[in-house]
Symmetry: C2
Subunit: 208 residues, 2 copies
């Protein structure tokens, strides 16, 4: 059986999660580099000093948020890229999956988009690390596809990272359209789909 945490540990984890959740909510409207430790503890309802029991700084908390936002995405990425079906079907499924993920994890996605090039170095690095891992994983998945026969490793990784960046761009498009009309969101789906299709066509003719 799984080990049950003691009351003390369980409560500590609960407070830690409350700090992460509160910070994520506050970060919808500002950048990590302007997020104050007191802001976060005030939102949770604990003393400012309690923060130090969990994180050394807001930058440290930011790195934890990166793990929370991207850490669980690896299996999803793998299955999406290696899915079968004709190219258009696969693209449609990928776009829909991104759309749903943005709708259900809005704050996490916004955080990643914002801090990817943000002002806090350790967080930037944590995000680049995770994205590099995604790139490797997509590359491995692409390598198994017959379409990749004759491709160099280097070109495969180039394409994999292009896909990863394209996923982020698509997520960002959906973010901007979250509060727009249904019609506008449909337009974003069409744009994202055709972008992916154009890349897919380029892939099919790469070795011509």
């Amino acid at each position: 059986m799984s080990h049950t945490l003691g009351i003390r540990q369980a409560q500590k984890q609960k407070t830690r999660q409350a700090l992460l959740d509160a910070a994520l909510a506050l970060l919808e409207e500002q950048s990590l580099s302007s997020l104050g430790l007191r802001e976060v503890t005030r939102a949770v309802g604990v003393a400012p000093t309690a923060f130090y029991r969990h994180f050394r700084s807001t930058a440290d908390l930011g790195v934890a948020l990166v793990e929370e936002a991207l850490g669980s995405l690896h299996p999803m990425i793998r299955t999406t890229v290696s899915a079968d079906g004709d190219p258009d079907e696969r693209i449609a499924r990928a776009v829909e999956l991104i759309s749903h993920h943005v709708a259900s994890h809005t704050a996490h996605v916004r955080f990643i988009a914002r801090e990817r090039h943000g002002g806090v170095q350790p967080v930037r690095e944590a995000i680049q690390d995770q994205l590099a891992r995604f790139g490797e994983e997509v590359k491995d998945a692409l390598a198994k596809d017959p379409v990749s026969d004759g491709w160099s490793d280097d070109d495969l990784l180039m394409l994999a990272n292009l896909y990863v960046d394209q996923m982020l761009m698509t997520a960002s498009l959906f973010l901007d359209a979250l509060e727009a009309t249904e019609e506008e969101r449909a337009r974003v789906v069409r744009i994202a789909t055709r972008r992916m299709r154009l890349i897919s066509i380029g892939r099919q003719h790469w070795l011509d």
Copy 2:
């Protein structure tokens, strides 16, 4: 003859520019949403209150920086996209142009990459506006190319925005490689070139 500014106006513009320059330098290491007005005036060597003679807030200054960073880029974009030569030559020239621009305008490029999804709404909007204008301009240039015969307006704009985003991604790659070895920068050139080539191939076979 051009009108010469009075001494007073000239001095005011000089101070304003000094504030913009100091802010841009400070923004290499932080986000706009954490930039303080006093930080900026301290760096320039004027009283904090002098700031209000030029900007209503740091957000207001940020919007001015967007104009400074992107406003002068429109002619450059137009000529780059509408240049002639075979596709590979054009791509090589575009990548080189981006590389040079990042090296000569590092702080401006970093500012745009950072604040495009940053925590200050008016600045985000100013950037999106400029990028949308770039998209329209690239679309107009693409429309004149025989390769675009038979393309719908919608598809042309989709491709144009894909190019614009790709330019920013490329700029961001060069930013990250600025302090790396010559070898690493050459690698970035190769990656960026092949990404563009893949998109270009997709474009050529779009109507197949």
